[in-house]
């Protein structure tokens, strides 16, 4: 049955994706919910939240707020918080409640801006889509706000490269500071640039249109990169190094005697395609890519699949004839009959578990 999950629990929703994009930025982030969604986002889908003091709030909606559509009360609460909290923007993230009562996001956004004087981003997520949809909307809003609010970008002449889409939900967990430095160093070497931005600060974000190039490391950041290209001519490349989260070289050496012949890689598409390219080059195996989230058509090859239902996953494994699956271990519980090799490729948006 469509939507029925008997084995695999639900994955990170769109609202978590949106919150993850804003999480480390100096804004007032308001989850438009009754409380449970904010708790789910912070307590489960945003690993960086435990170690930081992000300004994430729940609107604390109650039944009568929803039934009577008390938008003015919400705006009042946000304005009061802005008097006490120093924030450079307000981001309001939707949940199922505003979706059911058809909240007018544009109008509420205008009201908040008028009342607080701050730039406002309204993200109309509804809790039913995947995290990537929320990230997509949030990246685009953020790029628009950061670049447009600061005026048309001038020629910078900077030899910098930006990395768009590097969120915990698109990878295995939050990267440590040391790992981020290592990622930057790798990109710097690859691109021969002076500096690398990962867009976790507003002033970095403002330069998104000025960099020599943006590297897009997950499909959810493609629309934002596309926007920058169309509007400001900033080029982008879709690329990600699998070694950031998977010791692929090590694995390949261990499997050298019995190289796989038919492989299935399941993750966000950019990372999965990076793994495919290496596996194919090194082993000559036929490699399919599948993802539970949106896939960019230009990266898709015949045999690649977008998964929606548990049953689709089971039949793909049953009928695919794979001798190696590279995917989050959580998915294994739905295919106990699979007898081939399995390389664990954690995806925080799936299992949410913290990796060592």
């Amino acid at each position: 049955m469509k939507g029925l999950r008997l084995v695999i629990p639900p994955f990170a929703p769109d609202q978590s994706g949106a919150a993850g994009v804003f999480c480390m930025l100096p804004g007032l982030i308001v989850i438009l919910d009754a409380g449970g969604c904010a708790g789910n986002i912070c307590g489960f889908d945003e690993p960086r939240w435990f170690g930081s003091r992000s300004a994430i709030f729940s609107a604390g909606l109650r039944d009568m707020d929803a039934i009577l559509g008390r938008d003015d009360k919400l705006v009042e609460k946000i304005a009061k918080a802005c008097e006490k909290i120093r924030a450079s923007f307000v981001a309001v993230i939707g949940t199922p409640v505003p979706a059911v009562i058809a909240t007018d996001y544009r109008a509420v956004g205008r009201m908040i801006r008028k009342k607080t004087g701050l730039p406002v981003m309204m993200v109309n997520t509804d809790g039913t889509a995947g995290y990537d949809e929320g990230e997509k909307k949030a990246w685009k809003e953020l790029v628009r706000l950061a670049v447009e609010e600061t005026g048309e970008p001038a020629e910078s002449g900077r030899n910098a490269v930006g990395i768009l889409g590097l969120t915990p939900l698109s990878f295995h967990r939050a990267f440590s500071g040391e790992e981020l430095e290592s990622i930057k160093a790798g990109v710097q070497q690859r691109e021969g640039c002076d500096s690398v931005y990962i867009y976790t600060a507003i002033d970095e974000m403002e330069t998104a249109a000025l960099v020599r190039k943006n590297l897009v490391v997950s499909p959810s950041a493609i629309p934002a990169a596309e926007y920058l290209k169309e509007r400001y001519g900033t080029p982008y490349e879709i690329w990600c190094d699998p070694e950031w989260i998977l010791p692929l070289e090590e694995k390949l050496q261990a499997a050298a005697e019995h190289p796989p012949k038919r492989v299935l890689v399941v993750h966000q598409q950019v990372l999965a395609c990076g793994i495919r390219n290496i596996l194919r080059d090194r082993t000559g195996a036929a490699v399919d890519v599948a993802s539970w989230f949106g896939m960019e058509p230009s990266l898709q090859e015949p045999g690649d699949r977008v998964l929606r239902e548990e049953e689709e996953w089971m039949s793909l494994v049953r009928e695919g004839g794979y001798d190696l699956i590279v995917a989050d271990q959580l998915l294994a519980r739905a295919v106990p009959e699979y007898a081939g090799a399995w390389w664990d490729l954690p995806h925080f948006a799936l299992s949410g578990r913290l990796q060592p």
């Binding site: 990170a12 100096p26 904010a38 708790g39 307590g43 059911v100 039913t128 889509a129 002033d203």
Partner: protein, 448 residues
Amino acid sequence: MMREEFTESRAGDAYSISAAALAEAGFAGMPEQLISNRHLIYSSPATLAFNSPGAQGFGVKRAGLSIPGSVMLLVAPACCGRNTTILTELGGYGERFFYLMMDDTDIVTGRHMNRIPQAVKEVYDHLSGAPSVIMICITCVDALLGTDMERICRKAEGLVGIPVLPCYMYALTREGRKPPMVHVRQTLYSLLQPLPKKSTSVNLLGHFAPLIDDCELYEILRNMGVRKIREISRCGSYEEYLQMAEANFNLVLDPEARFAAEDLRKRLEIPSIELRRLYQIDKIQHQYRLFGAALGETIQDETWYEETKKAVESFRNTWGPLRFAVGEGCNANAFELSAALLSYGFAVTEIFADPSEEDFIYIRRIAAVSPDTRIYSNLEPTMLYYDIGNEAADIVIGKDAGYYHPDSVRVEWSDDTAPFGYAGVRLFFRTCEQALRESGWHREEVKE
């Protein structure tokens, strides 16, 4: 501007109020910073249990599975089931949760309602053994759509031939007349059907895990001639759970079980008596006196009283006048526990909790002996600026207080097993003692 710079460039301090000022203001004059529906709710690790009750402890989902042999179908957008992944990792829950995920059309049109009975059937068929009950957990979306889940459950029952019950996880109604945790308690006992009464049977209602094994309440009841003391968490089978209907009376140990008790009184004619979890031993004694009087019995609790009094004194003599900070994320009412600690000669520097009207009895008591105790709301936006790591306390109680004082000796005091009565007080101080010893606090701060 990086996040670190943001948190350091403080716009102000975390809001707090002294116990004296709060007692003087009274409930009617309580500042709006302590009234959660007047401001945005700050989401910090300290408030996780509040913001996402399903993620920690017993939220609606885990509580809803208290009936032995039951399974749950969560009918909701994916976002509502997300934290259940944590529960599936906990022992025994992996095979008990199933999901029917709504899409964006469902949440507007309610068309998912037609699929629920068939989904229940598929869950039933998927299981290797028949469950005792299938709970259907629904969330804010169905609250707003006005879904008649009782009717859907009846239809599903027709397909599977076992009870199917609605379980309402309506976060929107959290501060209403019947919040989700009240509702779920009523649901849990709704399957009980009239049985001949047994004067020697009693139910303990309110907790989803059993009382601590050495709780004197068991012996008090046995001394009264009670032979069967039933708690839902100790029922080994569905049949044993159904036997709860034979009880002569119910003991309500958590106010959130009042509705359930009232429902059982109306349907099964089982009366109830309410007892509170307290940490002030003189109040525990008084409560047992009243309880005995209500039943026409005399409760001999002097031994436990003296034993507990000695345990408290011994702790006080060993560790001296410790400074406590008390949060609401623990197995206690933060204000009652604070009043108790003050009465035993300790200091309470901070309390992290939103007061209810009933709490003002304790707040006035606190104000009388410790007017400068600061009271914070975990949920107020300026808690973003709380000076984490300040040394306002030697030992902190509760997950929330522990978050604010990572360098103090921390006692979460939030195990599933429920502390109660004199035994609860003794266990509390034993746990504090253990934490102090393990942290080495004794050596560094007291001996020297």
